[in-house]
Amino acid sequence: MNLLQSITDATNEIFETMIMLDITAGDPLEKSVNSFKCSVSGVIGLAGACKGMIAIHTPDTVAKAITGSFLGMEVEEVDDDVTDAIGELANMLGGSIKIVLDSAGKDVTLSIPSCIHGEEYSMDCVADADWVVVPFTIDAGQFLVELQIKNS
């Protein structure tokens, strides 16, 4: 089960089929990131054989660019459309990772997606979890996709 590859493949598929933006995956980060400024984070929780979460963290400018392309409209501020779109991105990422985990015999359920937006916030989800964070770049900047997972 190669979760790094699964995250990269799932993110690429979503951006190719539904968002229509070119993205480039970078090398996974060596340190986890848990504080964010002027950003939007979409999060979906995992429960069952594994617990954890999948999140997408985007600076405001990147979140607006993604939402604009997703919905095919100009987006000037981080509003309900943006938080809903980033939450739905997390939802689709969660669905893809669930399929990978299920096929490895780890039956998990997904939470309803949630979204955090603010000038400054921090996230600390699952203690002692394995984690992987992959940066992706689009023209508007960089965003992160994070998976934290721990056997229940």
């Binding site: 089929t17 739905e88 939802n91 689709m92 669905g95 893809s96 669930k98 309803i112």
Partner: protein
């Protein structure tokens, strides 16, 4: 009267994307109605006629599986075809949806071509 479709998803983004994809797929619906969860959909179906329902599964309040369970007990709407559009691509949950009467399923992310392939075969 043209055909009418009901899109059920708690994400307003996804409701907009599904509506746009139906148009891009060349599926000509006279009216696209929207509901944010299964209960809202049942309330709407008590007042409105539709020819097709597209429903998410993972939703707050009433999810897509419970919606199917309740819909199949209601005369007047039990025969309306339902296609599940969901991130939950696992065989178990899709199998349960089909046992409850779902006519098909589409996994998110999807393309307009996939929408056309599944829905075109049902209408």
């Amino acid at each position: 009267m043209g055909k009418r479709v009901l899109v059920i998803d708690d994400s307003s983004t996804m409701r907009k994307i599904v509506s746009r994809s139906l148009r891009q797929a060349g599926l000509d619906f006279d009216k696209i109605l929207e509901a944010g969860d299964g209960q809202e959909a049942l309330d709407l179906l008590a007042k409105e006629n539709v020819d097709l329902i597209l429903s998410d599964i993972n939703m707050p309040n009433m999810d897509g599986i419970e919606f199917l369970r309740q819909k199949k007990e209601i005369d007047g709407i039990k025969n309306i075809p339902v296609v599940m559009i969901t991130t939950e691509g696992g065989a178990d949950i899709i199998g349960e949806a089909k046992e409850l009467g779902a006519a098909g399923s589409i996994k998110k992310p999807f393309t307009p071509d996939k929408i056309n392939e599944v829905i075109g075969g049902i209408l």
